[in-house]
Amino acid sequence: MTDATANNVPASSVHGGSLLSQNVRTRRRNAAERRFRLYGVIAIGLSVAALLLLVSSVLNNGVSAFFQTYAKVEVMLDPEVLDPKGNRDPAEMSKVTTIGYGNLMKDAFPAALQKAGISVEGITDKEIGDMLSKEAPAQLRNRVLADPDLLGQTIEYWALATGRIDGYLKGRVTMASAELDSNVSPAQLRLADQMREADMLETRFNWDFITFPDASELRPEAAGLGVAIIGSAYMMLIVLFLALPIGVAASIYLEEFAPQNRLTDIIEVNISNLAAVPSIVFGILGLAVFINYAGLPASAPIVGGLVLTLMTLPTIIISTRAALKAVPPSIRDAALGVGASKMQSVFHHVLPLALPGILTGTIIGLAQALGETAPLLLIGMVAFVRDYPSWPVDGFFEPASALPVQVYNFTTRGDPGFVERASGAIIVLLVFLLCMNLLAIWLRRKFERRW
């Protein structure tokens, strides 16, 4: 309270007589203070609750994707069938297709069950064979082709079980649903129970989910994220190496050097406008300019990276400018005062001080780019790619998928086995984000300061 009011207003109405007890007005102000603080807590609480709700629902659905069911099959690798010419030449042996290997396994499986003393009554051999994934023969074939000496031996082989059997062990498929399901029968589930008791069926941690490439709709159990992770990593590399320097350079010019003229105005409006352009429009741009005009290959990380770079730039520029703006003019004046050039004052003093803010913006931008799906739909990233791209720089130009696109892809598949894989892919994506964020927090902690 100022002197002026103290003179004009009776003291009692302001102070209520005693300094020790709070008067009405002070109480009201303190209550307002507490309320305001509470609003803040509620806001934070709501955001964190939303995050937890989202993450827990994802974890709930997705953790099971990291586990996979395998069935033990004893297979006699019959040279008569697998190497009809008998010369152990992998080139010749590759003439036997996965269908041949599939038949071999389908024959061996019921026999192996009987040998283990599991009753296979009331269930046809075909049904038993159908409990194994279609991926299993392909893996067995690769193993035999890599090591032809296995021929003639009887090997114990842990084959992938189908998605439905896997779902049964994870509780997704039940006896009741199997009654109605055209792809699995209760008899198969009962057999699965018996096999589990005989230790012939087990669920293990599934590294293959992270390393394997995508698989077709018939094999949800074999689908993995290998190609998508590589593709996303390549795109992030491109975005980081292009967007960060360009974005910071542009911000420095606009914030520190640009004269107030028409050109600067146009650039500024452009940048804030680009931040509002729907990401799908960047997809159209990428399709028209990078693929059709420049002739870069579709489905390749280079195009995705360039599109995401353009998309991320405004975010990075806007936050970098905010960070530069936050550095007090006294810093610049001091640098100029001791004889530094304008350029030196910016690069040696302002920029390092603005770094924490720049990092925040870059992280938000990268996070946004990592999770972006829409523009990638138009430049052919929604693709079925089985072959891993090679190392950079060549790998930038080879077909690949991307993590969020893979999520989208999994959610559009018909087999319910893909649902858990979509959530699993999201978990992987979130882990990536978490790592990026942790790195950023560490960097920011190191540098953050308040003026």
């Binding site: 590759s94 297709t97 996965t98 269908i99 279609k134 392909a138 074939r141 498929v173 649903s177 199997a178 109605l180 399901d181 055209s182 792809n183 995508d214 698989a215 077709s216 709709e217 018939l218 094999r219 300019v289 990078f290 059709n292 005009y293 420049a294 002739g295 870069l296 290959p297 579709a298 489905s299 280079i302 360039l306 739909l377 138009l378 052919g380 929604v382 693709a383 079925f384 790619v385 089985r386 072959d387 720089v393 060549d394 930038f396 130009f397 077909p399 892809n409 959610t411 559009t412 598949r413 018909g414 087999d415 319910p416």
Partner: protein
């Protein structure tokens, strides 16, 4: 423009110097998301069993796929376009103007379209007329054209259960919608006799009448789904009274969640569709750029493998997944082996 060109060329220079113009080794296909699952199944098996790299199968819609096919010849264009509807004359013209003169049309089989509701819901036996009367904007009541008053299925047809009408139908971006309009709504319009009344109301203008037939109500009873069948399934999960439109293959993979309805008394299955008894189906195609045959390694082999009995035959994995195999597959195999390009559209 020059500055755009500048940037782009600079990028292209970097690109060119990075990769020494190596020829493309993998087959590239793009197009319909309906054909996508079948194409991935074949591509996967092809990659496993042949010495060629696994083909890349892009999604993105039939229209975009055919447009990409028609962009020209050369390794930076795709080899095969998957399509859930037949190529149109305008696409063929576009192809020709870009030097893609020879296209091979390969029909891989048929896709059935089924109507299904929540597994615990009531049984439905529809006729196309029921669908028309449930979803059309205007219907004929007592010989007069009126705005659709029906709110429950039993009002449409006394044999249907007393359940509010709620239908999730494919959005107008889907080729499936075209089939739905043609083979269900339009057929129902004719079957119920409304077509004749509409034609009369428009002074005998058949086209106007057809337009009236396929105009669906907009009061929230029929909901367009622009996403995939998984979205339709999720919506049915959230709204147990609704009936959704699905592909046969999707239904077959989710028989534990969905109850399929009969259409004109026929239960949809690969057999009943192949025999033509079940009315709502459509052919699926892919289009091959003949100029790339023998150039892109493995293309000829892939196309032949796709239509081989091992894959597209009635006992192959595609049929397992829900593709209705083509009774004339042998003719297709012959055509593919000789690389016969398609003739002009009839």
């Amino acid at each position: 423009m020059t500055s755009v060109k500048f940037t782009v060329s600079a990028l292209a220079v970097i690109a060119a110097s990075a990769t020494m113009a190596s020829a493309r080794e993998n087959i590239q296909t793009a197009g319909s998301s309906t054909v996508l699952p079948y194409a991935t199944i074949v591509a996967e098996a092809f990659g496993e069993n042949f010495d060629f790299p696994t083909p890349v199968v892009e999604s993105g819609g039939s229209g975009a796929g055919r447009k990409k096919l028609c962009e020209g010849v050369g390794e930076n264009t795709i080899d095969i376009a998957n399509s859930s509807s037949r190529i149109s004359q305008s696409d063929i013209d576009l192809c020709a103007s870009n030097g893609v003169t020879e296209i091979m049309e390969v029909r891989i089989g048929y896709d059935g379209i089924v109507f299904a509701s929540d597994i615990n819901g009531a049984e439905f036996a529809f006729t196309p007329a029921d669908w028309f009367n449930a979803l059309a904007k205007d219907v004929v009541v007592d010989g007069a054209v009126t705005a659709n008053p029906n709110t429950s299925w039993s009002q449409v047809n006394a044999n249907l259960p007393e359940q509010e009408i709620m239908a999730f139908i494919p959005g107008t971006k889907h080729g499936t919608r075209e089939v739905f309009d043609d083979k269900v709504i339009l057929a129902g319009c004719e079957e119920s006799g409304a077509m004749a009344v509409f034609a009369e109301a428009n002074g005998g203008d058949e086209e106007k009448a057809e337009e009236m037939c396929t105009a669906l109500r907009t009061d929230g009873v029929s909901v367009d789904i622009d996403g995939d069948y998984t979205e339709t399934l999720a919506r049915i999960d959230a709204n147990k009274n609704a009936i959704g439109v699905f592909g046969l293959s999707f239904y077959q993979n989710n028989t534990d969640k969905l109850k399929v309805a009969t259409m004109s008394g026929v239960t949809p299955s690969t057999e009943s569709i192949a025999s033509g008894e079940y009315p709502v189906s459509r052919p699926l195609f892919f289009y091959v750029k003949n100029a790339h045959l023998g150039v892109i390694p493995g293309l000829q082999e892939y196309v032949e493998f796709f239509v081989s009995d091992d894959m597209a035959g009635p006992n192959g994995p595609l049929a397992d997944y829900g593709l209705v195999s083509d009774p004339e597959l042998a003719a297709t195999q012959e055509m593919v082996a000789s690389g016969t390009p398609m003739g002009p559209l009839q």
